[in-house]
């Protein structure tokens, strides 16, 4: 028995562990970077630190009911508009914790990231830095950039720069239920792959069938964007 196993590993020379559990073959396994951040999270708000930590902006996204919630606090240097320091807290799975941790590293390293650059951070940037995530975990990294945007907006609000607040341009797609393109994006990130899946989550287009072609186009667009 042992002999056989030895032989197989030798001939196949598996450099990467193969995981066959997911249907799409993409696997569940986490990269070493994810694991490192998961086991040694950086910059998180320690117990009792919230009274001491000075910050100019705070962003909160998600909710425990959805399975993920993130809070991000940032300290901004007024002159250079660079993020000097940050803290975070996350309720969520391994990838949610790792992606917030890695994001916190990205925004404060090398003297801090400029706000305008911080607003440009995309989920893909976090993913790339993490060395990738399993497909169905991609949504965890999306929360990170949203929390950052919310924190920066909060900073703008607090400093009276209302004109600079970035609102995610959402457009109403289903006029009956007031469902936006943003809602459809969320549904795709949560795993919906076609109209039927999205309708299960949102009932979109049921009361407004005219919207269906546009909905289908959006699904294709977001599928391409996040999974393509």
């Amino acid at each position: 028995m042992k002999k056989i196993i030895k032989k197989v590993t030798k001939t196949k020379n598996l450099t990467k562990p193969v995981d066959i559990r997911s249907n799409d073959g993409s696997g569940w396994l986490y990269s070493d970077i994810v694991k490192d951040h998961f086991f040694n999270p950086r910059n998180f708000m320690k117990q009792g630190e919230e009274e001491k930590f000075k910050y100019d902006g705070m962003g909160r996204v998600g909710s425990p009911a959805c399975g993920d919630e993130m809070v991000l606090w940032i300290l901004v240097d007024e002159k250079s508009e660079k993020i000097k320091d940050c803290r975070w807290r996350t309720f969520g799975c391994g990838s949610a914790i790792a992606s917030t941790s890695v994001l916190s590293e990205m925004i404060v390293e090398k003297g801090g990231m400029k706000l305008e650059d911080a607003l440009k951070i995309k989920p893909q940037d976090i993913l790339a830095r993490l060395g990738g995530l399993p497909d169905r975990k991609v949504h965890c990294s999306v929360l990170g950039d949203k929390a950052l945007q919310a924190a920066v907006n909060d900073y703008f609000r607090k400093t009276g720069q209302h004109g600079r607040i970035v609102t995610a341009g959402s457009k109403i797609i289903d006029k009956v239920l007031n469902i936006t393109d943003h809602d459809i994006e969320e549904a795709v990130l949560e795993g919906a792959q076609n109209l039927e899946d999205v309708q299960k989550k949102l009932k979109v287009g049921v009361g407004d069938p005219e919207a269906i072609p546009e909905i289908e186009e959006l699904i294709r667009f977001y599928m391409e964007k996040y999974y393509g």
Partner: protein, 413 residues
Amino acid sequence: MFPPKPKTKKFVYLDHAATTYVDERVEKVMKPYYGKIFGNPSSLYEAGRVANGELNDCHRKVAEIIHALPDNIIFTGGGSESDNLAIFGVTRKHANFGKHIITTKIEHHAVLNPIEHLEKESFVVTYLEPDSRGFISPKKVRAEIRPDTILISIMYANNEIGTVEPIADIGREILKYRKENNSIYPFFHTDACQAGGVLELDVEKLHVDLLTLNASKIYGPKGVGMLYKRRGVNIVPLIYGGGQEMNLRSGTENLAGIVGFTKALELAQENRQDENMRLVELRDYFYDQISKKIDKIKLNGASLGNENSRLPNNLNVTFMDVEGEAMLLYLDAYGICCSTGSACTSTSLEPSHVLTALGLPYEYAHGSLRFTLGHCNTKADIDYVMKYLPGIVEKLREISPVQMGNKKHAKYK
């Protein structure tokens, strides 16, 4: 930081409801069937007759344990197949009489998904809601029976929360209905996969017409199970071919697996009372330790007690403010295996359908861990887990922005 990792990592398996290792005694009786005894039970020469004799013995032995007749036992390729055979077998045969099915919201997917498929074939399904501990009321079952109800499928014991359903009482209600209405319908199926090693399996006392069991949850091999089918209950097969297993499950019999399953069932039923007592004690000790060392927890399912209301090996606990998959991954780093009802481990990103059916809010379901004990576990295992679990929960709570029970987010605003 997280509790320091031990020098020698222990392997503590607390996921026996997922699957079990094969008992040495089971492995031993299976071995000859991979060697000397390889004949096809359908062959007429001696090697075939020997194999056929063993197969018949297995039918007899299993029948004796569940108080049935040998030709009531259909060996299959596992629990899921048996559930599918029961559900599709009955509904496809009896659709002319009626197209109504009753089941529960907390069934295993091997029952829920075939039934969901039947809904697409114009069957109508009533999904019974359990109470907050997971019990299905026999009265409620009775109240939902319609003249066109042909099948009722209710699990014997739940795989996630361990709640043991009052199958005998439900069976009696169904019998009463049939008698009063002078009908052979509805048929009653129970998925007893989790109960195989724990509870009494007397089909006469349970008043069931169909009963599913599998080997991989009772220290037997994977890929083999059985469906009990009462004589007179006609079903159609899922697999057509050489007509093995009374024409209901074609394909050359997996004799090694069947022999292993039979032995595993014998051993499990022989030792169940002693083992149940041992597991109840161990499980209660575990819960006692958790509730002493960790605050803000909630026991999910029926209150702890004997095997009549909750499986002796099952512990399902919500640790508030933290997420199940994160806990699971950290425990894994210390060599501890368990499972969670959190959405993150499912394919659908929805939390456990069982926990949400109990009326638990989503955030409770996301923070749940299921520990299921078994043969290999001792008090030392529990003590090992308790060395790390409180630290992991504490650390994750520190990272978590959620504080249930406290005023929501008051701290940050």
